[in-house]
């Protein structure tokens, strides 16, 4: 690939990160791709929107496995042939909690919480960690130097460092050994007006355990739900204002 075409690929990817456009990809030869830029269906990312999710921790545990598997399939992580499974990235995970005093238990998915005041963005030396105007927190893998400061700063252990060669990359989700990654709230789908893969998977199983939508739009399902039920955000005491709300914890 020439420098020039490389540059245009970079540009397309960066536009995607900024939410200004969606990229279409044509594979010319194995490993060589051509990307074209289209305007995002939903228009550029704007602070008029605040994407978020509401997770119901009382939902039957099985739906979280569906969500995790859907994320793996969509984003291309979690390959079982990796050398060390223990250092594998996990963009979303199923966490079990138990109150030792009452014995009450719950399971819930934990992924990037897409904070309004993300510590990972504050500490990143290069600005690779960033928050789009619509609240989605992303890593620009082209300027991430792999210092892992953002992982130190994340209160939720939601970032992963790519410890070994990546296999089975998805065209819409460039990944790279030596850089940091996390849940993107399926920004490539959201920009096309779709829901994140985990939400679709849960819905497809007939469950409403995750509601996705624009918290700023009073008519959206999620805004109505958070105004009706008491919801919680993990470690709200830290004041980072996550975009992921939970019920039943």
């Amino acid at each position: 690939m020439t420098d020039k075409s490389m540059n245009s690929v970079d540009k397309a990817r960066r536009n995607l990160l900024k939410g200004g456009a969606a990229a279409a990809v044509v594979t010319l030869a194995p490993g060589v791709t051509l990307q074209t830029v289209q305007a995002a269906v939903t228009g550029p990312a704007t602070s008029a929107k605040r994407w978020g999710m509401l997770v119901d921790a009382n939902a039957p545990e099985g739906v979280w496995d569906l969500a995790v598997e859907a994320c793996k399939a969509e984003q291309g992580w979690g390959k079982t042939e990796n050398v060390n499974q223990a250092t594998d990235p996990q963009w979303i995970r199923k966490v079990s909690i138990k109150d030792p005093k009452t014995g009450a238990k719950a399971t819930l998915p934990v992924m990037c919480q897409h904070c309004a005041k993300p510590p990972c963005v504050d500490v990143c030396p290069t600005g690779a960690s960033m928050k789009r105007a619509d609240g989605i927190v992303l890593v620009d893998k082209h300027i991430c130097i792999g210092c892992r400061f953002c992982m130190m700063a994340c209160p939720y252990s939601c970032r992963s460092f790519v410890h070994e060669d990546v296999r089975g990359q998805k065209p819409h989700m460039p990944r790279g050994k030596g850089t940091v990654e996390a849940c993107t709230m399926c920004v490539h789908r959201v920009d096309k007006g779709q829901k994140p893969a985990c939400v679709d998977a849960v819905n497809a199983a007939g469950s409403n355990a995750i509601i996705f939508g624009d918290l700023n739009d009073p008519n959206s399902d999620i805004a109505r739900a958070v105004s009706k039920f008491v919801t919680q955000r993990i470690r709200s005491d830290l004041g980072v204002e996550p975009g992921i709300h939970y019920r039943g914890i």
Partner: protein, 405 residues
């Protein structure tokens, strides 16, 4: 102030010892580069790090060197800023040591990045909200200021200005160490770190570690080059080291006592002080015992405190204790699980709620030691080609009126 009559001269640097030292240092640096090649080729999967313990042994040794660097500049600062003329002859080598230690530390830090090839990105994209980005500027500035300071001390015409820039270097190093300490202080979610005490603690640590390294380096190079090193200057540095060790102990005590007072930090405190296994051992036995109390006993014992061997042993122990201290802070602080759901029992495939295990791989150790070797190599070569070391540090030379008691 009397005119400076100190004669500075390059060391001979011809003997077999000199070249074998260079050879060994070279081998250590090559080993570090080989380790980096492996870490980059296979990925960090070959290291001991995980997604929970993301900063490992290279960070411990790199931060040790960076912290010690600013401390090594102290000897020069004491003479130029605080007017203690007996330290003046050591100012040049103090500045050079500071630069060398910083270079070694940064080498390790940069080579441990996931993408060291993107160093240019780190230099061109700045997020000014990031304390890390500020540190990059502080480190670069430190090089510029200290090298200018060194030059002004060595160039007779510039001598009159050296005091001013010496002052600047002193202030810069205080800011730099504060910046390094703040890397941890800003991590609000980590109970082991988010304390304002981190900045003064790191400054005290830098004084102690930098001086300990400096004492060993001066003693060894004067012995090896057959130049006289009098007790007066050695005992001055001994006393200072004692004060610095005590200061680190004091700030360490404050750090843990204030943390114990805050209920939300009870977990991490119990972990470090009581049941953290290797971290508890490193804290009490290596950092406090071997690295602080024993050196204090050696330094202020009437017999061992008056022998060069005794003082060097104490300084060596301070270095070992310092590395242990940083290991406990950096790795212990990450091994203790983040509290996503305080008060709950938590488990997951991502090791939530569990103490994270970390064991350094040989690659990481090789990389870290390579940084130390690089720092020493810079010093060893510089003293051969530049007039940095005074020909004599005998008592008569340093302070003719002084009688060592």
């Amino acid at each position: 102030m009397a005119a400076d009559t100190t004669v500075y001269k390059e060391i001979e640097g011809k003997g077999g010892d000199y070249f074998s030292l260079i050879g060994w240092l070279g081998v250590m640096i090559l080993a570090a580069l080989y380790a980096v090649y492996n870490m980059e080729h296979h990925g960090h999967v070959v290291t001991g790090m995980t997604n929970a313990v993301v900063w490992g042994t290279p960070h411990v040794l790199a931060i040790f060197l960076i912290v010690a660097a600013s401390g090594a500049l102290n000897v020069a600062s004491i003479s130029s800023v605080f007017g203690r003329t007996h330290y003046k002859p050591l100012s040049r080598i103090s500045a050079l040591t500071a630069v060398a230690l910083l270079a070694g530390g940064l080498m390790v830090l940069v080579l441990d990045l996931g993408r060291p090839d993107r160093l240019i990105v780190a230099m061109t994209y700045y997020n000014f909200k990031s304390i890390f980005a500020w540190n990059i500027i502080l480190y670069n500035g430190f090089f510029v200021i200290v090298l200018a300071y060194l030059w002004m001390m060595m160039e007779r015409r510039m001598n009159p200005h050296s005091k001013k820039i010496g002052m600047m270097a002193f202030l810069w190093r205080l800011i730099l160490t504060t910046g390094t300490g703040s890397i941890f202080g800003f991590l609000v979610a980590r109970p082991g770190y988010d304390a304002a005490i981190m900045a003064p603690l790191f400054i005290a640590m830098s004084f102690a570690f930098g001086l300990a390294f400096f004492i060993i380096m001066i003693s060894v190079s004067y012995k090896a080059s057959d130049r006289p090193l009098g007790d007066f200057i050695l005992f001055k540095m001994r006393n200072l080291l004692g004060v610095f060790i005590a200061a680190v102990l004091y700030f360490t005590a404050v750090q843990h006592l204030t943390n114990l007072y805050a209920a939300e930090h009870a977990g991490i405190e119990a972990f470090i002080l009581w049941d953290g296994g290797i971290y508890t051992f490193l804290f009490w036995v290596v950092q406090i015992g071997l690295g602080s109390l024993i050196p204090l006993a050696i330094l202020f014992n009437p017999a061992s405190g008056r022998s060069c061997q005794g003082i060097m042993t104490a300084a060596g122990l301070v270095i070992i204790g310092g590395i242990a201290q940083l290991y406990v802070i950096i790795i212990g602080g990450q091994a203790f699980p983040l509290q996503l759901f305080p008060g709950m029992e938590v488990s997951s495939s991502f090791f939530d709620g569990a103490v994270h295990s970390y064991a350094p791989s040989h690659w990481e150790v090789m990389l870290g030691l390579g940084g130390i070797a690089a720092a020493i190599l810079i010093i060893v070569i510089a003293v051969k080609y530049l007039p940095l070391l005074p020909t004599s540090l005998s008592d008569a030379k340093i302070d003719p009126h002084h009688k060592v008691k």
